[in-house]
Amino acid sequence: MVNPILIIGITLGSAFLIGIVQAFRPRWTGWIFYPTLVFDFLASAVNLYGFLSGSIGKPIMVKIGGFPPPVGINLLVGKAEAALGTLIFAVALLGAYHWGRRGFPQPQGKIMVLFLLLALGAAGISFTGDFFNLFVFVEITSIASYGLVASSRREEALEAAFKYMVVGSISSTFILLGVVFLYKATGSLNMLDIGGKIAGGFSSQVLGLISLLILAGLLVELEVFPINGWALDIYQGADPVVVALLAGAAVKAFYLVYLKTASYLALPSFFKLSLIFGGGTYLVSQFFAWRQENARRLLGYSSVGQLGLLILAGGLLLSPSLPASSRAMVLAAVVLLILNHSFSKSSLFLLADNVKGEKLEDWKGVLSSSPVFRFSFTTSVFSVAGLPPFPGFWAKLLLVMAAARFSPWLVALILAGALAEVVYYFRFFYLVSLGDKKAEVGNNLLAPLVASLFLVGAVPLAYKMAADKLSLTLPGGVLVLLGLSLLVYLLGFSRLLQWLASLGLVAYGAYLLLPFLKADLSGFFLGLILAGAAVLLLATYPGAKNLSSSFYPAYLVVVFSMAGLVLSTTWFSLFVFWEIMSWASFLLINMGRGKKAAWIYAVLSAAGAYAMLGGISLLPSPYISSVKSPGPWLALLLSLGFLVKMATVPLHIWARDAYGESPDDFTPLLSGIMSKMGVFGSALVFLYVVINLSSRSSFNYLLGWAGVLTAFFMTLLAVFQEDLKKLLAYSSVAQVGYILLGLALFTPLGWTAALYHTVNHFFFKGLLFVAAAGIVYRVGTSYLPHMGGLIRRMPLTFFASLLAVIALAGVPPLSGFAGKWLLYTALIEKGWIFIAVVAFLASTLAFLYSFKILHAVFLGQLQEENCEVREVPIPVAVVEIILLIPLVVLGAFPRLILDPITRVLGKVTALGIPDLKYTKTLGVVSRLGHWNALFLMVFFAGAFILALIFFALTSARVKLVGQMDVGYSGEVPRSPEDLHFGYGMYDHFRRAVKWLIYPLATRVWRGIYEALGAVAEMGRRIYTGDTNTYAAYVIGISLLILLIFKG
């Protein structure tokens, strides 16, 4: 144990000493400055360790002057204070190091004194146990801040400092008046003493007003809306290092003391006050940041918002009706939020210090400038936005769970704010990752790197805290695999090694997870994931490709998080893996050409995931398999996330570009397997959530329509798509629409259809995307009109694609037909005939694009520039062949999959097994009809071969001619281009269905986004920048607080 007074005394002494040394040997000041900070940090850390390890049992009470509490001043350092002290000095050390490397402004001794005393003031605020002493430390902090904010001596900095000073003076006047009145009312200045008196029944008619006076002063310092204009100005105008210290450390001390004051003064209305101001600040700030073009101000809005969230959590803590278990959750959330925000925001501001210019545009291309920058930035943005696996994510999880006990509206508020945060942070991320050229970036990156490493290091701690509080268990094997996946990053010097390691890891994963491969729903999907990932990974053979070094780690994380997802037994666990999967896939998509697509994907994913989290928080039991009947709305909320991943209309707007412009090696996984996680999730919802029969039918019918409309519209859009991968993207989404439809039927037959199609879709769409990757790799473009005639150059790929397309179109005798047959049979059996009509029509439309894929790529005229194109690389060809086999085999023997599905469905007690019989002559027999797959295959193949032989024997001499050698009305075509019909192939049809393909959803979503953005921009204007106005806000809001909450 280190006596906290030592920290304060020694720091003060050093500050005075620096003052002397500065006068004689300015250069030596550093020799006092840094060791002092290190000492402070270590001393606080030792105390924190003492508390955590239990060697310090109760809070350390320091009686200054030896007087017992009410008489003298005392410091009271408990666990929270020790932790906060450690945090403050850690951030201060980082900032000091960073500033020192960049060079302190001269005279440096002075700035060091200010810096040291700012940190000390913040620590003092949290340590002190006396109200007047609190005021003194508040002033120390404030004055040091005024000086530091102005320290860059830029006009903006001075303006910000001045505003801060005016507002800060008013706020400290309130605090001072409150403290003195408090003394007058209670006869004491000691926090514990006053708290004891109030708890003991002391009351006074003005006690409420007095307390509110103090709290209002503290709320100003806590930057609540709308009295935070000054704070935003500081974030924008002051030196980033100073901002890092203020936002990362000083404000947190104010937060702690706010909580302490509120709980000592214990007025019943305090928790409402905190909830209202915290929630309001949180939501409004996250929202106002939407169209912010100044990077630093954007970060400022984010800081203010995070602080709002903290205050909201504080409100929960102050609430008398919060159950004890939830209180523990909120406490853990607060700790994690503070940790998360301090380090991520320090890191971001210190990074901002390295970027020239403040506009978001100036940040373009910084991500490609240096790997350290990229790592720190990504980590910090992820953690500040509350994404897994960083502490912010767990904090959000805990907070939402606790808030759900309180009110669903609070959950909605928290999640809405979190969503808004994702919107603008990933807009930032998207702008930052734009740009081909490297931006010029400073190399003062150690401090941000350390901060972000700290965030990474805090992950296990955060996980443990959350897991304890939520009784959350994640499958250990999967966690190990996820960890190992990240280690693959270390092999970044060689892609080939990474590839090999990935293959090995998938194999190891399969070995590790072997016991889970049972004949149930999880096992079914697990098998698909592991086998599929292994095959698709094979095709990503790096060769001479320009893959990012984080491609393979992210790929593996996606794979194993999917494995974890299907193995989850609680909704928490499912949500955690769901988020990991989403964000890892976001990173992968962002590595491709479509940065904006990745952003839209991120936003919609987050929206879905948060809806899901909201739903989970309202569920009575977190166990997936415990049946619940909460009604259709909750089920819809839960399934939104899954619907987004399945890109169900109208949530599909991300899919085209995200699929089309993601790295070619990732798209097969995205389409073939990842979209199936949505299927898995909705299957769970159908099975375990909507149990009430009357609501089930309407819910299912709704989702049935959603599925079939997805199939219809996406198919239609695919017809007019001129980009190979985007066409396949639409097609993929449409196919998943069928799967959703099958699930929504909720009959054994419908589920059989859905599960069959799930597997089969992986085969043919995986094949097509792998082939597309190979083609794009060889041809160098994904634009269909630039291809054509490639059958001559890549016959194998043509053959594979041909079979895949036949399966895709659902034409017998290949495997695709089974899914269609089962689905239609199920639809008619269930009596959903209108849906059946649309489904039929959609699959007819699929023929249109099926032909387009084959024609525009492989048939027609070979373009001149593609004459030298070679067949796809060998690994791709191998994968094509591997995926080809099941298409044919399943075409003849669909029972190879139907039987396992029947067994899986047998486990799912709510459904029962499908009413299918198998006979030799009629094949598969349903109640409606029958279909003999083997016969069709044999018949077709036999007849085909027979006809071929007959033809070969009887036909005349066959002469092969060149591609330009066609009967063309006497004209002589000059180049293959003249003869190729590869652009606007369905223009005539488009004229007929113009009204159906109007991009309504995109326009509506964009309209909503832009309307909200415009509102945000209007709303932001309340920050007029005028000092008088800000002062008026402060006084007005304080009065409002007094008026409303005094009761």
Binding site: V811, K820, F840, W931, A943, F951, T954, M964, F981
Partner: protein
């Protein structure tokens, strides 16, 4: 089993011949309506023989080479999946292979193969024709599906046999009369299927020279030709089974299919041609409406 295959083979030959004959008849009737003498009704047999006997054949590649086989096998397969005479051990062909859903998808196979082969020819008219054909298919398929679903739901079966059995017991039990709107929708969509006027833009002999098979000649064309003929017969048979109560013997089959054959023929000669988008929109409005009427009826009654 072998006997069955033999019968199937014979039926197939008969089907091809019948198809060719119907083609000849249609040419003759058209000519007469236009005040021409026209070719003999056997002209199609003569053409086929001539093509088959050509000395050389020009090929543009593998897919081009295989397409006629796709076409023939697709057409023949469709034909064989439709029972000519329901219940007859031989004339019901291979209808055990699958129900109506299977049939409707199998029908596409031949067209798809042919389309791909034609597209490989490198002649731009071929894919233009194909895309037109596919688009038109998207048009007429909607009313057709509607009426098929009406029948399936009404009869609670998806097999052709079941549907035929449901129509037994007098002419008034034919679906043509029990579900007149659905039947009307289906028969209108038959016009699109047969690419007859006014829905003839797919082939458009004047501008794109019969579209898809434009580059085909000689033996290749003969295969295509026979495939096309038997495919047409298969469609007539299908309609017969769906709406006209099937056939109890071969004679009835001839009569009924001939009647169905006459329907597009009469339409085709008195209408101008529609543009593609007009056809599609036409199919998606009136016949669809008719189909929906019966569907709604079924839905509400159920």
């Amino acid at each position: 089993m072998w006997a069955k295959i033999l019968y199937a083979f014979l039926t197939l030959i008969g089907g091809i011949a019948y198809g060719l004959l119907l083609g000849g008849i249609s040419r003759k009737i058209t000519a007469r309506m236009q005040n021409r003498r026209g070719p003999t009704v056997w002209q199609n047999f003569i053409d086929l023989w001539k093509l088959f006997r050509k000395k050389t054949a020009i090929s543009h590649g593998v897919m081009f080479y295989l397409a006629p086989m796709f076409r023939l096998v697709g057409g023949a397969g469709t034909f064989l999946l439709v029972p000519v005479v329901v219940g007859s051990p031989y004339l019901s062909n291979f209808s055990f292979g699958g129900d109506l859903i299977v049939l409707m998808y199998f029908m596409v196979l031949g067209c798809l193969g042919m389309a791909l082969g034609a597209a490989e020819s490198g002649h731009p008219h071929a894919p233009i024709g194909v895309t037109r054909g596919l688009s038109q298919m998207a048009g007429y398929e909607l009313p057709f599906i509607l009426s098929v679903i009406v029948l399936m739901v009404a009869d609670k079966t998806a097999t052709l046999e079941g549907i035929v059995r449901a129509q037994q017991g007098g002419i008034l039990h034919w679906h043509l009369f029990t579900h007149p709107f659905a039947a009307a929708a289906a028969f209108i969509s038959l016009l699109g299927m047969m690419t007859s006027y006014p829905f003839q833009v797919v082939l458009a002999p004047q501008e794109i020279a019969v579209g898809p098979p434009t580059e085909y000649s000689s033996t290749f064309l003969s295969y295509m030709f026979s495939g096309r003929s038997v495919f047409a017969v298969a469609k007539y048979l299908l309609f017969m089974n769906l709406f006209l109560g099937g056939a109890s013997n071969l004679l009835w089959a001839f009569v009924k299919t001939f009647a169905i054959f006459l329907w597009p023929l009469f339409i085709t000669n008195v209408f101008p041609r529609l543009r593609l988008e007009q056809s599609v929109l036409f199919f998606w409005t009136w016949p669809t409406f008719l189909g929906l009427v019966d569907l709604l009826r079924i839905y509400l009654v159920r």
